[in-house]
Assembly symmetry: C2
Homo-oligomer: 421 residues x 2
């Protein structure tokens, strides 16, 4: 057996180890981008931790790092994990929490002398964040056979290095990356723990969020064409100012989303997140403005309703302001539903463990959204302070990490009893 104190201490030490630091308080946060030496160094620590726990390790051809508690080659395998890469100046919990709690769950089971009859695999997926190449979850996409190599090979980072080059520079071979795909019988199921990156758990004082569905964004690129003209000579009532036209849309998107959320329980989030005005000169009326709109909900109908709200506003504005709009749909992916049985088991286990829990949706994408397309999958959230993430101030306390680890240990244990948990 292991005491709670020792376990909390081990969690803190392992958290530092995976973050390659002696102090989680880093004013500039952690910059450990996908397919960099920093990510590889974290994967090296993953191997050290795994080996200390008596697990077998291997890296696949996409750079995903695996650790397996292998008990029987012919038995099924329960997989768990997340990722170790971060955004630029990110936090030390996004991703790390999922890998760390999986290891901690194994540590708990091993301390209890638990004898699994199914294999347990822990994974650190490579390059989950889109921060470097603008595309997310490269490693888990490869495992799930969802990676379109032609489409992503030549995406560049800010230094002009392509994804293909970065993968090759990591000691891998881009030509082999598809070999990371696993057969359907490789896993019985997959489970991921992640920090919430929102404030719902903190506000409702819940220990655990059991995720029902993952919202995938609908993304629009909206261009408004007005007329560039001199700011000093063009009367206010004789302008086709594209920025004023877009400003109305920005305000309308927010107020429409707020109204929709008052009306029904599943939230829709709509954000004008990018903007570029031309000519963007102090003495010229903006003649063209391009904005990016990110719309999310686990209810696809609500996303579509928001798109229609935008279309309607645009039509009205075209008439009112003599401007023209052009809309390009960059993404329109349906929400991913997670396994309902796994949610049920997790909810029961929370009660048994005296952990308060709630069913909730995920507004952000995670490796689990790829895994869910291939294997029954679950996603658990633990609270993070003030919902702050992708930021040096990201923080989750050790108790929350311990709660996740205990729940995962109980889940592994439970699944060992059932033929298919």
């Amino acid at each position: 057996m292991i005491t709670i104190e020792n376990l909390l201490h081990w969690i803190q030490e392992t958290l530092l180890q995976l973050n390659l630091t002696n102090d989680m308080n880093q004013p500039k946060g952690f910059s450990r981008l996908g397919y960099t030496k920093e990510e590889q160094d974290a994967h090296e620590q993953f191997r050290v931790i795994a080996q200390n726990l008596g697990l077998e390790t291997h890296q696949d051809s996409a750079g995903n790092q695996w650790a397996v508690w292998k008990v029987d080659e012919n038995a099924s395998t329960i997989a768990a994990g997340s990722h170790l890469d971060t955004v630029y100046n990110g936090g030390g919990y996004d991703g790390v929490a999922g890998v760390l709690t999986a290891f901690a769950a194994v540590k708990i089971l091993k301390a209890k002398q638990f004898k699994p009859v199914k294999n347990i695999a822990i994974v650190a997926f490579a390059c989950e964040e889109s921060a470097r190449f603008g595309v997310s979850t490269i490693g888990s996409k490869a495992v799930c056979g969802l990676l379109n190599t032609d489409r992503v090979a030549n995406l560049k980072d800010t230094n002009g290095i392509t994804l293909q080059e970065a993968v090759n520079d990591s000691g891998l071979n881009w030509q082999d990356i598809q070999e990371a795909e696993l057969a359907t019988d490789a896993f019985e199921q997959f489970i991921e723990i992640h920090i919430e990156q929102g404030r719902l758990l903190e506000k409702t004082r819940k220990d655990i969020g059991i995720v029902r569905a993952i919202a995938q964004p609908t993304r629009l690129l909206i261009t408004c064409e007005g007329m560039t003209n001199h700011t000093g000579t063009t009367p206010m009532n004789d302008r086709q100012d594209a920025l004023v036209a877009i400003a109305g849309l920005i305000s309308h998107v927010e107020s429409a989303a707020l109204q929709m959320n008052e009306r029904q329980s599943i939230p829709v989030m709509a954000t004008v997140s990018t903007i570029k005005a031309s000519p963007n000169a102090m003495n010229m009326i903006p003649g063209q403005v391009v904005i990016g709109v990110d719309i999310r909900s686990t209810n696809a109908d609500l996303k579509q309703e928001m798109v229609e709200v935008i279309l309607s506003f645009i039509q009205h504005t075209e008439v009112k302001r003599s401007v023209t709009f052009h809309i390009e749909t960059l993404a329109d992916d349906p929400p991913i539903q997670l396994d309902i049985n796994i949610q049920g088991v997790l909810a029961e286990l929370c009660e048994e463990l005296n952990l308060s829990s709630m069913i909730m949706d995920s507004g952000a994408g995670h490796d689990a959204m790829n895994m869910a397309k291939r294997w029954p999958s679950g996603l658990l959230f633990i609270p993070c302070r003030q919902g702050i993430s992708h930021h040096p101030d990201e923080y989750t306390d050790s108790q929350s990490l311990l709660n996740g680890a205990k729940l995962l240990a109980a889940y592994f244990s439970k699944c060992n009893e059932a033929p298919s948990c």
Copy 2:
């Protein structure tokens, strides 16, 4: 004498000559930036035209090109002119119209065998446009002793060439540029003809605009600080979205200016002309937005009222949205009043010549705004099609150019009668 047909033909030929082209219809317009070979080539054509008219030419140490109808060294001099440089892909009338009509006025007077008793000086000021170095009216500033050489010497163009280097590359000497300043007795007065760069004359079907005052901009750089957060995990009612906050301000600036213009006769123009959002990433709520606001009116009180409207809205928004604003005043120059006596004489002459005219304000800056600080100065507008300027579609018909030339010729003639016109 010269027939109207011949004069119109001469105006068309000289327009082509000053624009260094055989065809005014140029899809990419004219790119004749200050202190470039293109501007020098136009100045060379200025000299050819001047010499054909029997005028003496000289270049000053700021690169301004002068042509003088010298009748008496001890007599006073009436100066007229504008500039020959353009913006990138600009039109062939902005600036050129003022030089061309001044030459045409001399041609009319010479054809009439007019014998002036005062000298007449025609000028093409160097580098009037801010397009190359971000600062306007370099040449006329030098003539007026208003050029702060320390402040502008190292301003760079898009190729990294400094103003100082560009001046030296033009065969001038930066160290001598201040020597272009002229004594107060150099001129009795200055008059500039310019295309309106607005639609007021076209809409009211007036031949001539007699400018009362030149609006100089008040320019604000407004930063809104909110909180960057994930677009998918941050509830709509728990955001500090700097872009939504700024969008409200953009709309408010327009509606407040429209209201102010309904209330009183002197227009105020307020434009949010530049915008930059951070992090400007598709999945992040904008945490910081910086906008540039350009406010113009020939009534300084109205500009101040608009600033106060903005301050009031910002205070309200800070409370409502938990964002903070920071305002930097980049410019706050008072309007330039033009000489009231000159306006009166010009209005009388318009009646005599059967030209319809109106008193109006200039929203844009011109060389006359510097000259007005040193000498009694006048500024005349002629219509340009649809108010389009700084664009290849810029166009003013020959009749409007002829109207300007006739008015200027009449003005030169009138001033010869009076001791000080």
